[in-house]
């Protein structure tokens, strides 16, 4: 990861490239080597762009929309999850990608997929409220973590490999012991959830989670102030917690932006970056650790649905409804 580039400045962010596809995009991830960008699409494919040549390769295998992807630490294997109940194993760099293994992992949607730091396990979670652990080597089930009362949206392994976090629609973040399956504690992120009595709907939830560099802090992204959930009237919101005590440290907000913070990530330089999409359009948002308010916001050409930070610390990819993946750069535009 590039951390010492003096040219990086979030306030210089600009869209450097945009890559078209035939259908709206749902989410995106750089692979660990930074060679590829993968984006899940509404045509049930995963699209791979090679950054160097801009070549695009489809990964076809899901029977419904793929939702997210995760990589083994080496980047050799990618595992995707979808709304077709399935996890699919792929060779990340294959010139002619085909599913290596398909595992029917849940009933209905799988929203979250994550690979353990040692590359031995993949975790999945979804609308059946289950969190499951699988052996990456053969796809066999290892353990199920039960306890969520609502749809599970996001997963995150602790860097130690001892714990798995799962965040749900209700704003509950369960900390599971990998070795025993027990819930060690629950972190209260209910500030990201609300129930609207007039519309009779639950809304919000933990849409993504991320660690800071030394894993002493955890952030959960989503939304707040949902005055009209069915009409997308809500504000992006990020909760920051201390890991040792599980206490809320701060709630990060931004003025005059409506939407959902679909993804959040810590930049190697320490600031927090998130993408927001919704009725207020697409934005890249930036916060310092000690401030509630964003120190910078940058409007994207279209609503954003997913974000990934490149290992170089310069490029930020976003997935968009207008059938484009975009690469924004956190450095000055070329002269």
């Amino acid at each position: 990861m590039q951390t010492e580039n003096p040219a990086i400045d979030a306030k210089l962010v600009h869209v450097a490239e945009q890559w078209p596809h035939d259908h709206p995009l749902i989410s995106c991830r750089f692979d660990p080597t930074g060679r590829f960008l993968f984006a899940c699409s509404e045509d049930s494919t995963i699209q791979r762009w090679e950054l160097a040549g801009k070549t695009r390769t489809p990964f076809a295998g899901h029977a419904s929309w793929p939702r997210d992807v995760a990589f083994t630490p080496s980047g050799e294997t990618m595992i995707s999850c979808g709304y077709d109940d399935s996890l699919i194993w792929w060779e990340t760099a294959s010139p002619e990608p085909k599913p290596v293994r398909v595992v029917k992992a849940h009933e209905r949607w799988i929203d979250g997929v994550a690979v353990s730091p040692d590359g031995r396990f993949v975790a999945s979670a979804g609308s059946d409220r289950a969190v499951r652990l699988w052996n990456i080597a053969d796809g066999s089930p290892i353990r199920e973590f039960t306890g969520h009362a609502k749809h599970v949206y996001s997963l995150l392994f602790h860097p130690s490999g001892e714990f798995l976090l799962s965040g749900d629609l209700g704003g509950q973040v369960h900390q599971w012991e990998i070795a025993t399956g027990k819930c060690a504690r629950t972190i209260d992120a209910t500030g990201l959830w609300s129930y609207n009595g007039g519309q009779a709907v639950d809304y919000g939830g933990v849409r993504s989670m991320a660690w800071n560099a030394d894993a002493t802090q955890l952030v959960c992204s989503g939304l707040r102030e949902a005055s009209n959930p069915l009409g997308a009237v809500n504000d992006p919101f990020i909760l920051r917690f201390s890991w040792d005590k599980g206490e809320k440290l701060r709630g990060h907000v931004v003025a005059d932006v409506k939407g959902v913070a679909w993804n959040a990530a810590f930049h190697p330089l320490g600031f927090l970056v998130a993408c927001s999409g919704g009725s207020g359009g697409g934005w890249l948002l930036f916060w310092n650790a000690d401030d509630d308010q964003a120190f910078h916001k940058f409007q994207l050409p279209n609503t954003a649905r997913g974000m990934s930070l490149h290992p170089d610390g310069i490029q930020v990819a976003t997935a968009h409804h207008d059938r484009h993946a975009r690469i924004s750069r956190l450095v000055a535009k070329p002269a």
Binding site: Q199, G231, G278
Partner: protein
Amino acid sequence: MRCAYACGSNDHRLARRDFLGGLGGLGTLAGLGLVTGDLFAFLRPAAAKQMAAEQKRVLVINMHGGLSQLESWDPKPGTPTGGPFRSIPTSVPGTHISELLPKTAGVMHHLSLIRGLNTSEDDHGKGAYLMLHGRRQSPANDIPEIGAVMARTLESSDGNGLPGHIKITAGGGGGRGNDAAYLGPRYASISLGNGNPPQYATRPDDLSAEQDARRQNLRRLANERFLSRRRTAMTDAYTYTFEQALRLMEQRSVFDLSKEPEQDHARYGAHDFGRHCLLARRLLENGITFVQVSHSNYDTHNENFQFHLEQMGEFDGPFATLIQDLVDRGLFDSTLVIVLSEFGRTPGINQLYGRDHWSKAWSVCVGGAGVQRGAVLGKTNEHGTEVIEGQVDHGNLFHTYLSAVGLDSTESFDIGGRPVPLADPASKPIREILA
């Protein structure tokens, strides 16, 4: 203003059903001035049971906000408009519905789908109005909702004294609706807010039964004296409301869901819609003519799929259980079941993963009394943007509902000597869906 009621005609006191052939040769008794309830006193118990079984009922499930036809009755998987959900086979060979309805899929042989609906109205209020009235709203022409029409035309003769028009709402309080127009408040809905019994249906603790009876007798005495000279529609409504309230108080247990077995509560689910469906079963079993259950909310401009996943997940089990229970208890053939909404949702998926209002090509589900089993009528194109076969509208549906329960939908109410059509005279029933 004095109304025609003051003419003293029996027409306004006799339920239409009493008067029509449903009671066979006993019509003459009705003609002699027997009021509802007295009639059964002349019947042998077996005959009374048979008549009760033939009594038609109507259950409407109102998917408030605009149910997506693509996430329910008319899925288009694998197309750009289809969204992420797949379709699943049902108990009717060749008929597929959304995977969000696995339990409903298992009872589809009891139900039919109308997939060619084009109502051309994308406004919530106007769409709801035309789906529940069968006609467009007109300031010059206040017409009753389907529940009032059914309550009036199918009014039970078993003398149970219960209201014929009940709405079980997702929230709110209770009270009386203003939805019966010229049929009068007798047929206006009584809302059971969140499934709770009608408001003020218990005698105050500090009022003894004897005191209450004396009070009511005094009221009746004053009423009779007043009505003997100055009877109007308003005084009739006033009197009826009092008497109905008293009968409701006597039969309050009909609304008491705790009387249902614990295992049935478990089967229907520990959430509002499950309880409301169980209550609907209880009300229908107790002879209430029209029951409407609302399920909210489907107005999913944002995160349509997420919200439908949650909402349809809640709908599917209780609805399928209710259908099967009606079948098992011998009520289904006499109960018209309608699952409707104010419109459907756009085939196009917006940038918020939402679907907007779409009335040009959508679906309703019907079943039970008078309609075919396992039929699919109408067809939309590949992307669900247009009806390409069997197009119908709200007027056709309203005629069909009336026909399904054995009424002649071209008939008229006699309102003060003026004929008022039950349904839009310019429309007609969907014969192909009728049994």
